[in-house]
C-alpha cells in the first residue's frame, strides 16, 4: 500500500486508477468522497447539499445520500493542518482542481428534494 501526502491547496479532485474522488467538507472533517453516484453513476461532485447540509443530492436523479454514509466509501485519509495523507493500494494517482459548487456555503440552503 502507498501513503501519499498532498497539500490541500493543490487539488480538490483525485483519481485512484479509474475511481474518482472529490474533497467534501463534512462538518469539521474533510472527506475524500467517491464522485460516482451508486445509482447510475452520476457526478456526485456536482451535486448539492440539502437544507440541513447532511445529505448530498445527485444532479442526475435527485437521489440524496447521507454524507455520513458516503464517508464509508471514502478514501482513508488524515488531514494534518493544510496537508492530507491518503492510503491506497493503487499507485496510479492523479490530482486536479475543478470548480466544485458543493463546498460553497451558498448552496447549503437549497431545498431537500
Amino acid at each position: 500500500m502507498k501513503v501519499i501526502h498532498l497539500p490541500l491547496d493543490s487539488f480538490n479532485s483525485l483519481a485512484v486508477g479509474e475511481t474518482k474522488y472529490f474533497l467534501l467538507q463534512n462538518g469539521a472533517k474533510l472527506v475524500l468522497a467517491p464522485s460516482q453516484c451508486p445509482h447510475r453513476g452520476g457526478p456526485l461532485h456536482f451535486g448539492r447539499r440539502t437544507t440541513c447540509a447532511a445529505k448530498l443530492v445527485c444532479p442526475w436523479h435527485n437521489n440524496a445520500y447521507a454524507i455520513q454514509s458516503m464517508e464509508r466509501r471514502a478514501l482513508p485519509a488524515i488531514r494534518h493542518g493544510n496537508y492530507i495523507a491518503i492510503v491506497t493500494e493503487n499507485e496510479d494517482i492523479r490530482v486536479w482542481s475543478e470548480l466544485l459548487p458543493i463546498n460553497q456555503d451558498q448552496l447549503a440552503d437549497e431545498n431537500e428534494p
Binding site: V3, A28, V87
Partner: protein, 473 residues
Amino acid sequence: MLMKQTRGSRKRSRTHDAHSMKRESDRMLRKQALFEFANQSVFAQQPSFYCDSPYTCPLRPLDLFKLEFDRILSQGELNQPSYLMGQRLLLNIYEQDLVFLPQNGKLALTEFRTFYHEEVRRAGAAIRPMLERHVFGWLDEEISISGNWDIDTFKAYADQELDRIAKAPSRLINCISTSRNPENTARFFLIQCASDFLSEASAMARNVLGNFGTDQSELFKILIDEYGYGVPQKKHSVIFESLMTQCGLNPAVHYYWQFYTASSLALTNYFHYVSANHQHFFRYLGALFYTEASLALVTRAQSQAMRLAFSDTVDTLYFDEHTHIDVHHGKMALERLILPVVQRYGQQVLPDIIRGFEEFRLLQDLADADLFSHIAWHDSLAAGQPALLPQLQSNARSSSFHECRDELSVTHVHGCTELFVVNRGTLRLVCTPFTHLDLAAGQHVVIPVGMLHGSVITSEQCSYTVTSMEQSS
C-alpha cells in the same frame, strides 16, 4: 401571528439570557477554582530554581491575572505563557492521582497533606477540563481522520511513518555533537525527559483497572515490564534515576520542574489527558503504539548521543533497554491490543486509534523542535551577548521592575520577543541549571518568544526594563 412571534422571540431572548448568565457564572466558578488551586502554598514562589520535594512545583500564580484559559490556543500560540502555565497546572492536577514520596527521606508532611488535600483536588478537578481544552483543543482542529479505514490501511500508514523515523538521521545526535557544550546539552535533554521518565508509565496504570478481558491482560504485561516486575532495579524509572545520577543530575522527582519546557510537559500530560478520562481510551491505544514503536527506533540514537556527550563514563542501559523492550511493546500494542480490539469492536474504534497515533506523533515532533530551539538559544547566549542595542519601535510596550537581592523570578516564557536591559545593579538570567548570563547595569539580552528563562537578583538593588520587540501595527 405577530403576537405569537413576539412571545416566541421573548421566550428565546429569556432563554438566551439565562444561558449567558449560566455561562458567565460557570466562568466565574472556574476562575475561582483556578485561583484556589494555584494559590496553594506548595505552588507558590520558591527561594530556589530547584524543587526539593515532589509537592512543591511553583506555578507563578501572580501571572494568572494576565492569562485567559477559556479559549483554545492555536498551534501557532504554543509558545505563549498560558500554554506553559496550563501544562504546569495540569501536571500538578494529574499527579494528585499518583503517589509520590521523596526518596531522600525528608517528608514535609504539611506539603504532602496540602498537595493531596481534598479541597485542592476538588479545585483541580473543576479546572481540568478547561485547561485540557486550552492546551490540547487545537489538536481537534489540526488533525482529522476520515474515510474507510481498516486495519490494513492503518498498518500501512503506521509502517510508513515508523519507517520514516527509522531512516531519518538523528537530530539529537547532531544537536549534541555540534553544541558548544555537549555534556550540558545532553543534561538539558535528560531534564526534558525527567517529567515523564521518573514516574514512567503512570498514565498507563490508569488504564489497567476495570474489566476489558484479554486486552486488559496484554496492557498489564507492558505495564509490568515498565515497572520492573516488582524488582526495583528493573523499574524503568529507577534505571533513569541511575542515568541522571551518572550524568551529574539530581534524580529526585521534579527537582528540575522549573526547567521543563511546555512542549516536554505536553508529552507527559497528553498521556494523562487521554487516560484520565476513559472516553479517550482508543486514542490512548494509538498514542501508546506510536510511542512504543518509535522509541524502539530512536532510543538507539539517544544512547549514542549519551556516549557522545559523556564518552563511556555513563551506562546507557535506560535507552538500550528501550531499544530492546520497545520492539516487543510496539508489537504487543499493535498485534495483541489494537488488532484484537478492532476485530472485537469493529472499525468504529479505528478513527480514535489513528487520531491518538497522529496526535502524539505531532506533539513529539513539536517537542523535538522546541528542544532544539532552546539549545540553539542557550548556545547563542554562551557565545556572548550582542554589543549593540537593537532598534526598537517608539511605541513599543515596556515595563520596568525594581527588585532586591536574591529575589527570584520563577522560570517563564514571554509572549513575544523582548529586549531585557539592566538599568541598575546586577542580575543573573537563568536558562538551564548550566546556562546563565550575568548582566550588569547597561547590559542587555534579547529573549526570544517562548524561550524558558528565570532570573535572580545578585546585587542589593536592581532595576531592569523589558521591552517588546513585536512589530506593532
